[in-house]
Symmetry: C2
Subunit: 196 residues, 2 copies
């Protein structure tokens, strides 16, 4: 039987090092050294660095998905207020990582999309899944009369995800959450408006 | 006298390889091999990989700056139409690189901001400079009565740059310019609106 604790430790360390240095610059040896796992064990769990990278993405996506569902599907909170909490959680994460790592999926998407269709597909599926959470929340807001239905929820979700990922990038280079605050302010003032 | 053609060749190759593989994963040897320059020459022009990286950023920023000025300060075109052309040029670039490299400054910002304050500062200065071009164009649009002055031009510029950088990232993972088109459509429909 494979020891899932070791596999989990490898994946957790991979997410940390990929977040800090990127995928290409992180060698398997660095992962093993950081978490004190012998090399033979790695190949017991993963056939290649690519398979390991995909497992890191899957694991991150699953954990983040649970967080997104908790924030955006919380039926005790009005839909647009859920979105506000999602943005607040993103800013809190950005402060906790000292504006350094930001979004692992965004980082890997930036680095790997042009190099590997396998990674590109995996990362795009994660983004599309996030968009679906946003679509559900926005449709809820439209249904509740909080949000104009003039722009379809799926186009709005794409707009929000692009804007938010870009604001995270700007927050990294500026070492400040101000771009995230500015994005949210104009989004709510101009885009997420009530029905006319 | 230093041979600027060799220096330019090194910088051009660096921009290409950093765009494809990132900064950390691009060794100086790969740069030298790609452009056929001997190792000694490299240290004739640059004292370190970091100095080389900063020169690549400076050179890219200067070339892109000239392009931005041409697009966004073209007084023969109404300001918001200039912005439309800027977005169209971005999409064209994205198609030309087969959605693979995207924005070099965005890529390096994503990769290096958490690792090095020197790079972070250099990349942030480039973004801030781009924002200033956008501010000028947006103020022109407000002055010409094309654009509401309800939101200050500098907040709009930050919003646009975040959204556009994020849309480029999404275009890379989706291998399609649709996220860039969706961002532009909602931006012009909801945000860049005429005075009430």
């Amino acid at each position: 039987m494979k020891n899932t604790a070791t596999r989990d430790k490898l994946i957790e360390t991979g997410a940390e090092l990929f977040g800090q240095h990127g995928y290409n610059a992180t060698g398997i040896n660095a992962v093993l050294k950081t978490c004190g796992v012998p090399k033979g064990s790695f190949y017991h769990y993963f056939s290649s660095k690519e398979e390991f990278g995909l497992a890191v993405i899957d694991q991150f996506a699953a954990a983040y998905d649970a967080q997104l569902a908790e924030l955006l599907e919380d039926s005790t909170t009005p839909p647009l207020e859920r979105l506000r909490r999602y943005f607040a959680a993103g800013r809190e994460h950005m402060c906790n990582c000292d504006h350094a790592t930001g979004c692992l999926i965004g980082n890997l998407g930036q680095e790997l999309s042009g190099q590997s269709d396998t990674f590109r597909d995996a990362l795009d599926r994660v983004f599309q899944h996030w968009e679906q959470h946003l679509v559900g929340c926005l449709q809820g807001a439209q249904g509740a009369g909080e949000l104009s239905a003039a722009v379809p929820a799926d186009a709005l979700a794409s707009f929000i995800l692009s804007g938010w990922e870009g604001a995270i990038l700007r927050a990294k280079t500026l070492k400040s959450v101000v771009p995230m605050e500015q994005f949210e302010a104009i989004l709510f003032q101009q885009v997420l408006v009530p029905p006319a």
